[in-house]
Amino acid sequence: MNDPISSNEIPPGWMPIFIAWIVVASATLGSLFFSEVMGVPVCILCWYQRIALYPLTFILAVGLFPYDPKVVRYAGVLTGVGWLIALFHVLLVAGVIPERIHPCVQGIPCSETHIALFGFLTIPLMSLLTFTLVAILLFLAQRMKSS
């Protein structure tokens, strides 16, 4: 692999992965801020999304040094799964999916939202946007690599 880390030339596809890493790292810290600092309760669907989100921080970072284009493949699976759960969660909050089929137990209903930044940006919506953004960036990285 002729990709010396110290070289100033940025290989094709590296930048989108790096930006995706910034997005997931910010999302990870943000979600920890909500639950651990602000004390917002974490529902089960949020946990499933966290399972997909948190490892991305490490997988993408490892894929950057040295740059390994295959990271798109590994990160893509997590992003896809996280995106689907986030979509389900957003639909649940919006009331499109009826309450009775949601899988929440132990007193923290997933259909309840605690935070709405700027009046509309709830945590599940932020999650869906994050996964969407990461998916687009991974797609871009793939395109730049193959072109």
Partner: protein
């Protein structure tokens, strides 16, 4: 720019933003708490609640506790240690915050024990044998009652006292005051009206030390 340097600076920046955010949030929380305490000073100390230590002590630790709470149990000897460390200067006022389900009944037992001067032995016994009557973070009042029988109180009187309207009133008042002071977890301590900046024994003993230095 070197990619590695770029990565490390962004990572550092994110962590810095996070840390500053945490600190600012906590500062704001303490500020809000101080504000709600100064607005609700009369909710902090009530006459007629259980007090340990000299009545004329100038430093008062108000402790909101739940007898079913493990951390309250672990703090109990530490609070006693603080009373002993500053003889004659520190007292503890116990307020109830029965947050565990079933604890409301157990708190009534503690109040009933007060009528037979057995409050502290009852509390100590409940803490010492907590695992016998708290199952999966839920209080089992019947088991607590069985445990308290070893204190040899007048059983008939005890059961009658538990039903006294004054007992219910004291507990209701404590719950209400706890809500006004934003007590969301137990134990919660206030030393001469000041809450702990963050939770921990060191923070509590520092507050007491400062309060003693300020009043004596």
């Amino acid at each position: 720019m070197n990619r590695k340097i770029l990565f490390i600076s962004v990572a550092g920046l994110l962590l810095m933003v996070f840390t500053v955010g945490v600190m600012r949030f906590q500062d704001r929380k303490v500020e809000q708490q101080n504000e709600s305490i100064s607005k609700n000073l009369n909710a902090l100390e009530r006459s007629g609640v259980p007090i340990k230590g000299p009545t004329d002590a100038k430093v008062t630790i108000v402790e909101f506790l739940d007898p079913a709470c493990e951390t309250c149990r672990d703090f109990y000897p530490l609070v006693q240690q603080l009373i002993d460390e500053y003889p004659g200067r520190v007292r503890v006022m116990v307020r109830y915050a029965p947050l565990h389900s079933g604890s409301d009944q157990v708190v009534k037992m503690l109040e009933a024990a007060r009528y037979q001067d057995k409050f502290w032995p009852a509390l100590e016994l409940l803490f010492a044998k907590q695992n016998r009557w708290v199952v999966n973070h839920t209080s089992q009042p019947m088991r607590a009652l069985a445990l308290l029988e070893s204190l040899q109180m007048d059983r008939e009187r005890f059961l009658a006292d538990m039903k006294r309207p004054e007992v219910a009133q004291v507990i209701q008042q404590d719950i209400q005051d706890g809500q006004r002071l934003n007590v969301q977890a137990t134990p919660e301590f206030f030393v001469n009206g000041r809450p702990m900046p963050s939770f921990g024994y060191d923070q509590l003993s520092r507050l007491v030390k400062e309060a003693v230095a300020a009043t004596y």
